[in-house]
Amino acid sequence: MTAREHERALDLIMRRGTEEIAAPESAWLNSHLSECSECANFAADCDSTGRLLRAVAVTASPSLVQATQTRVRARAAELQERQSRTVLIAISFCIGAMSSTMSAWLWWRFGGWVAQRLALPASIVEPGVFVAWMLPAVAIAVAMLASSHPVIDRSLTMNILREHQEGGRQ
């Protein structure tokens, strides 16, 4: 018997039970197993391993499942909230950038006019114009930071989690 035949037999033994094996292949394997004690022993060991492993009963407790579902729901709400805020910030940034771009020329002209009228030096007027130009973006950023409270009230979820943890300790 060649090493190639043993290799083929081992491959078929490992696949049978979970994969469809063609009838000729199956017949060849049976014939090989009747002649090769080493492969036959391996096949028997695989069967025993499978039988013993499948007999091991491991179950998740209902409290674990419930706690997992609660945590997943809380996290889903958190992610949803974060996504909403990201969209809001992106829209606000675009509006701020557009308004700043469109008003840049006007602010620069206005700065020039103020400097001319009040006879102010450029070292004062230019930074002033820059600050005024940035004002919409700064105002939006301040407004976003000021409203950084959670949009979704998670107190109920947190209470459920706390109660569950206390229940687990008891």
Partner: protein, 186 residues
């Protein structure tokens, strides 16, 4: 018609809590069993169980529904366990066994007579003890192949190793269990 996998993929993309609740219910025992075999510690396995589902929620958009959901779920569980082990790098999977916890697995289901039950339970205890002595690398593929009934290619995808390596690990894992399976000393 939309397949079950495609429906799951759609639900995960939308982070639908109902879909996630149903999936947790459906795959609770299989995932916990896999993590328990991987870590050998019930408390750690339960922590990783929760962590796995949180990661399923976060990475749900990556599931395309082309492969079986259980394979994808187990691969997430595998990665969570690997991350946990990396954080605790000096501790190996075998060392994670809780010394206080002598019987990590619950006893098997009912048997015909008390004699048979006792004998069977003894056999299972010996088997579990032997299984815990097997390298985690071999134990993982044994569990996936013989308990979860996964195909060799699925195991290879899940563990991210070539199919030839899966076969080698199964062969060596079975060989390591042979003394017990043939009724020899543990």
């Amino acid at each position: 018609m939309e397949t079950e996998e495609a429906q799951i993929a759609r639900g995960l993309r939308g982070r639908d809590p109902e879909v996630l609740d149903a999936l947790i219910e459906q795959y609770q025992h299989r995932l916990l069993r896999y993590l328990l075999h991987l870590t050998g510690n019930r408390a750690v396995a339960e922590d990783l169980f929760q962590e796995t589902w949180l990661r399923v929620l976060e990475k749900g958009h990556l599931y395309d529904g082309r492969n079986r959901f259980v394979t994808w779920l187990m691969s997430i569980g595998h990665n969570v366990a690997i991350d946990y082990l990396r954080k605790r790098s000096p501790v190996s999977l075998d060392e994670m066994k809780d010394p206080e916890d002598g019987t990590p697995f619950e006893p098997p289901a009912s048997a015909p007579s008390p004699f048979d039950m006792a004998a069977e339970q003894q056999q299972h205890e010996r088997f579990n003890a032997a299984l815990e002595k097997v390298s985690p690398l071999f134990r993982e593929v044994l569990v996936l192949r013989f308990q979860e009934q996964m195909k060799l290619e699925e195991i290879a995808t899940l563990v991210r190793i070539p199919v030839a390596t899966v076969k080698t690990r199964i062969y060596r894992g079975v060989a390591a269990l042979r003394p017990l399976l043939q009724g020899g000393p543990q």
